[in-house]
């Protein structure tokens, strides 16, 4: 089984395993462009994207022209929106999910409505949210929060429901009152599932920030991507795409880190993959 200690001493063979796929993609992409298999203005080679991306961030070479040096502002705008939407959506989702898991009465009151709403794609909310909130941050944060809400809620409910009934009975037998049951049994028992929900919510938040920024605002990586597309700057488009991918990846790692810090106990009885 994998353990954290193994990871510190990564062997050369493992480094290779990590690098095989990205290296192959980059090489193929570069070659395809160099031999003229694809037109450079449609799919610029990685060598060009890197230069444009560099200027996008530093503003030192003007390779990105009108976008030169604008990266930090866009990246910050997107990140901020993601976390703002995630914060309200996931918080509300966890609370609603816990309540549904704890009480059949609350389940009857909330669950049917939520199940119907859940099946409306968040993108279908775009027109209404623009009409309602106007152009700007508000509709973006609304859409992101809406998307983050459902996985957080569903996983919190599942987290409560899968708690071993014997643990619940044992705590009651020892004299735990309602508050102690919630704080000492239900919450820690549901935590692994809650954190799984947060991870999914974070993923959805990054999807929706792009949708929202294409439609509702004039800043952010989604806006940059769409604007560069309109100006036929596919190199900037690709740089923006990769930026979103990387920031999404870093956010996901953050949630995983929180998970690791909180759950030192949950990984002992799982497969965890081969070495």
């Amino acid at each position: 089984m994998r353990s954290r200690n193994d990871r510190a001493s990564t062997r050369p063979a493992e480094v290779l395993q990590y690098l095989v796929l990205p290296a192959a993609v980059l090489v193929l992409w570069q070659v395809a462009s160099d031999v003229g298999f694809v037109r450079r203005n449609i799919l610029p080679p990685p060598s060009e994207v890197v230069l444009v991306w560099y200027d996008l961030i530093t503003g030192s070479t003007d390779a990105a022209a009108r976008y030169s040096g604008s990266w930090l502002g866009h990246a910050w705008a997107s990140t901020w929106r993601v976390f703002a939407g995630f914060a309200w959506g996931a918080t509300l989702g966890i609370v609603a999910g816990l309540l549904i898991g704890l009480s059949r009465a609350v389940e009857r009151m909330l669950d049917p409505t939520l199940q119907v709403l859940r099946n409306i794609p968040v993108t279908a909310w775009v027109p209404l949210s623009l009409v309602f909130f106007g152009i700007g941050n508000a509709p973006a944060i609304f859409l992101i929060g809406l998307g983050a809400f459902f996985p957080a809620a569903i996983n919190a409910t599942h987290g409560v429901r899968q708690i071993n009934i014997t643990l619940y009975k044992a705590a009651r037998m020892m004299g735990a009152d309602e508050r102690e049951l919630l704080r000492r049994v239900i919450l820690p028992g549901a935590l692994p599932s809650i954190l799984t929900g947060l991870r999914l919510s974070m993923g959805i938040a990054w999807v929706l920030v792009v949708v929202a920024e294409i439609l509702a605002v004039r800043r952010g990586l989604g806006y940059l991507l769409n604007d560069a597309y309109l100006f036929y700057r596919n190199d900037v488009v690709i740089a923006a795409m990769l930026s979103i991918g990387l920031l999404g990846f870093v956010s996901d790692r953050l949630v995983v880190l929180v998970r690791r810090a909180l759950l030192t106990w949950n990984e002992k009885e799982t497969f965890g993959g081969e070495h």
């Binding site: 071993n164 014997t166 643990l167 009975k169 044992a170 705590a171 009651r172 037998m173 020892m174 004299g175 735990a176 009152d177 102690e180 000492r184 049994v185 820690p188 028992g189 935590l191 759950l263 106990w265 949950n266 002992k268 009885e269």
Partner: protein
């Protein structure tokens, strides 16, 4: 303190359209500090009876009284040891043992640290105090679960097939471990098991139950000397008791399968015929 009085208790469960009578007019008295085992084939209602005393279930009729007060729900005066070990997977062994004492209901039971220390020592888990349940063997887990219940010092210990999930060797070691704890600090114990040897070996009295509906069939005084020793299992007195209980339980179990006996006898033929053929092939 830890006397239990079960009077005219019946319990019916509604499952769909049919009512199942799990217990029918059961009377049972357990004295303070007595070790009683409930034994019987599956479905005889022995676990239901334990759950009624624990307060997880309420009787359909009749009354369960513990220490003079009718049972209204689970409580720390009646510690329950479950077959599926009730340890919190996110807590270490010592945190699990301290759990009960950290609850508001048990504030007056003394400071946790010395109690936890004593129990870690007694259960031989001191070296494993920082381990989590998933890192322990089945026997160690059940010892930790027993320790976590003993920490709140209940006057009564209710055990629902506590060693049922353990292998035979570990089970017999755990039985001696339990007796040792009990000899050192006597409590009222009601232990449910389907293991007849275990039922006799541990008990002052063994209550044999029969099914459909669940009733007490016989109460057997186990007059073997204490402290019990593993070797006693091969004494004539032990074997006599075991054969007696086995007969009751088997007769009961056969009742349900009586029409099948004929089929069982006839199916013995093709079986042996098949073995013969297989032998012929391997030769």
């Amino acid at each position: 303190m830890g006397s239990i009085s079960v009077s005219a208790v019946s319990k019916r469960f509604e499952t769909g359209d049919v009512d199942v009578t799990a217990l029918d007019a059961v009377d049972m008295q357990v004295r303070d500090q007595e070790f009683v085992t409930l034994v019987g084939a599956s479905g005889c209602g022995k676990s239901t009876l334990l759950n009624l005393i624990a307060g997880f279930e309420t009787p359909s009729s009749g009354q369960v009284v513990v220490d003079g007060a009718p049972v209204r729900g689970p409580g720390p005066d009646r510690g329950v040891v479950f077959q599926q070990t009730a340890l919190f997977p996110w807590l270490t062994v010592e945190q699990n043992i301290a759990f009960g004492l950290s609850l508001r209901a048990n504030r007056d039971k003394g400071e946790a640290t010395p109690i936890v220390e004593r129990l870690l020592e007694r259960t031989g888990l001191a070296a494993f105090r920082k381990r989590r349940p998933a890192e322990l063997s089945g026997g160690m887990r059940q010892r930790a679960a027993i320790a976590s219940v003993l920490a709140i010092d209940p006057s009564t210990l209710l055990m629902d097939e506590p060693f049922g999930a353990l292998d035979a060797l570990t089970r017999s070691i755990m039985q001696d471990f339990l007796l040792e704890l009990w000899e050192a600090r006597r409590k009222t114990v009601v232990l449910v098991t389907h293991d007849i040897d275990e039922a006799i070996y541990l008990a002052d009295r063994t209550i044999v139950m029969t099914a459909h509906p669940g009733r007490i069939s016989e109460v057997i005084e186990v007059d073997l000397p204490r402290p019990r020793r593993y070797e006693m299992r091969s004494t004539a007195a032990f074997i006599r008791l075991r054969d007696h209980v086995t007969q009751i339980v088997r007769a009961e179990a056969m009742k349900g399968t009586a029409p099948l006996d004929a089929t069982a006898a006839s199916s013995a033929m093709p079986d042996s015929a098949m073995t013969a053929t297989m032998n012929a092939h391997t030769k």
